[in-house]
């Protein structure tokens, strides 16, 4: 089926992910209302906005953790609106969660390895010793090291500090080498030194992939993102570079207005 698919005229280049008229209603309340998004391939795109603006809901819609009330989603030109979450992940769109998502009763290294294990395809082989997974051990430990957690590789993920859980989440996501990563507040609750390291990591990994990121730390957003979409009350308020967006009168008002609520 070929649908009307008009890229936003403002964006140049190759669009990897695009949403049209994305809407989500919860029992009479509209959390996301007619949102259009075009994410350019290879870019770091930030989604910002006050609390309750609908950013996390957008992520849930794009990865089908929630069913959109209406609207369509295309990834690499393919309509993925009706695909289940696991299939979207298999196509190469992998998300993180706002509330840190680790496997608490597995070690840090095992957390990463469970992502690597996906490369075997399905793992229904209940009769094999888990020794067969040791092929992934070196890479798992390397990924753990990459986010600065090597001295914690044997620690149960549930025992990590909040900031370290976030770092582990990124390592786990990265292990899939996804074409596109959706990061929901990856640096919330992190100490400054971790913010610096994870920022640098995000920049490094963005070299050959696309990143859509929700982030409240505006200096990180200014530093990292190529393009920013501002969401308020479920609708797109502004879109552009950091300079364009930060001068937008509605954006200033939305942020100040929200802090008074």
């Amino acid at each position: 089926m070929i649908e009307a698919f008009e890229p936003n005229p403002d964006t140049k280049g190759d669009i990897i992910l695009s949403a049209r008229d994305l809407t989500k209603r919860f029992a009479g309340f509209v959390a996301v209302n007619g949102v259009n998004l075009d994410i350019e391939r290879g870019s770091i795109h930030a989604l910002i906005g006050p609390n309750g603006a609908g950013k996390t809901t957008c992520f849930n819609l794009l990865t089908k953790f929630l069913q959109p009330s209406s609207g369509t989603i295309h990834f690499n030109g393919r309509n993925i609106t009706d695909l289940p979450s696991a299939d979207i992940a298999r196509l190469g769109v992998v998300r993180s969660f706002q509330i840190s998502a680790v496997f608490p009763r597995m070690s840090v290294a095992e957390n990463v390895r469970i992502a690597l294990q996906r490369r075997r395809g399905d793992s229904f082989d209940f009769w094999r010793a888990q020794r067969v997974l040791s092929d992934f051990d070196d890479e798992a430990l390397r990924r753990v090291d990459e986010v600065g957690l090597s001295e914690f590789s044997h620690v149960m993920a549930g025992d990590l500090s909040y900031g370290r859980k976030r770092a582990l989440e990124i390592a786990t996501t990265l292990a899939l080498e996804p074409e596109m990563m959706l990061l929901d507040e990856p640096m919330a609750g992190m100490a400054q030194e971790d913010v610096t390291r994870i920022s640098a990591l995000i920049r490094t990994i963005s070299a050959n992939r696309t990143i859509l990121m929700v982030e409240h730390n505006l200096s990180v957003v200014a530093d990292l993102s190529d393009r920013i979409t501002v969401l308020a009350r479920g609708e797109v308020l502004a879109e552009g570079s950091y300079d364009e967006v930060s001068k937008h009168p509605g954006v200033v008002e939305a942020y100040i207005g929200a802090s008074h609520e």
């Binding site: 969660f97 496997f103 009763r105 294990q117 075997r120 082989d125 997974l133 001295e151």
Partner: protein
């Protein structure tokens, strides 16, 4: 970090092979169980063994897959009925009767599991309970189950045609082989690539979906495995007591096996064995108290939930910092 500590922490981070401690525990357990029938009543021991397997089967689903079934009596009981009927009315040999009962539990597990896994959390538990109640009512109504009397005087027969099971001691060693085999099988499942996925589902299902895993298939697979092993326990039990009865499919049986697992420590390897041994011993010891046994079980349940949620083995594992 020195090379040595690095190697050690890597081994802890991603363990390969079976921990020495587990091998030792299994070996000691086996030796004790080989001596036990010469010291304790074989029938009592066989009951403990059957329930140890039943509780371990539930633990595979609950402690490793994170799915609480409140209807496992359906698998235990239907296997028990089918085995009893096949051995008595069709005159099947004991190994075939057990196989048939177990296969029936597997098929039932596939049907109930496929419907139950569509629900989450407490709703999952309620769906399993509802189906188990249907199986119970079926057992009450169906002509071949013997109603209130059940199927009695089930012949134990000759295993493979030449092992006479009429002696309690002989049967004990057959039951030991079946149950120990089942326990080792569960141990392997837990420590396989599949088991690794199970633990991840238990820990954080949405996250695992976001990594591209189709979790429903894994849930169904573990449900069927758990039902099959529960069936194996029920089928074996039917031969031990030469009886299949409504008690085996009643909801209290489902509750009891959950209690055994919680008391021993869900999500541990050895907890269900301890829980089963503790509750079966208590039932036998206090059999004279009649209905008060149920009250006592209730009290134990409340205490274990309030005071030590991790269960007996869970607490020991925490204090000794060992995975048990």
């Amino acid at each position: 970090m020195s090379v040595e500590t690095q190697v050690r922490s890597q081994a802890e981070a991603l363990p390969v092979g079976t921990p020495r401690l587990h091998i030792i525990i299994f070996a000691v357990l086996l030796v004790l169980l080989l001596i036990a029938p010469f010291v304790l009543y074989p029938v009592f021991l066989m009951k403990v063994l059957c329930f140890a397997l039943f509780a371990s089967a539930l633990n595979l689903l609950l402690g490793f897959g994170g799915l609480l079934s409140f209807g496992h009596a359906a698998f235990f009981g239907s296997a028990s009925y089918i085995t009893a009927y096949a051995a008595k009315d069709w005159g099947l040999s004991p190994e075939l009767a057990i196989l048939l009962g177990t296969a029936a539990a597997a098929a039932l597990g596939l049907g109930i599991g496929a419907l139950a896994i569509r629900r989450q959390g407490i709703y999952f538990a309620m769906v399993t309970l509802a189906f188990a109640q249907m199986v119970f009512f079926f057992a009450v109504q169906a002509p071949f189950t013997g109603g209130e009397d059940g199927i009695q005087a089930v012949p134990r027969g000759h295993m493979f045609g030449f092992i006479d099971l009429s002696s309690d001691l002989t049967l004990y060693f057959v039951v030991l082989v079946i149950v120990f085999g089942g326990l080792l099988g569960i141990y392997r499942i837990i420590h396989s690539p599949f088991g690794q996925v199970l633990k991840a589902i238990r820990d954080n299902e949405p996250r695992l979906i976001s990594l591209g895993y189709k979790v429903q298939r894994y849930k169904l697979a573990v449900f069927v495995m758990s039902a099959t092993l529960a069936g194996l326990a029920g089928a074996t039990k039917a031969l031990v007591f030469q009886l299949a009865s409504l008690t085996d499919v009643y909801w209290t049986m489902s509750g009891e096996v959950v209690l055994m697992t919680l008391l021993g420590g869900m999500g541990t390897v050895f907890g269900p064995l301890v829980g089963a041994a503790a509750l079966v011993t208590m039932e036998n010891y206090f059999a004279g108290l009649g209905a008060w046994v149920t009250v006592l079980q209730g009290v134990i349940f409340v205490i274990s939930v309030l005071l030590f949620r991790e269960g007996i083995v869970g607490v020991i594992a925490r204090l000794t910092k060992k995975s048990l």
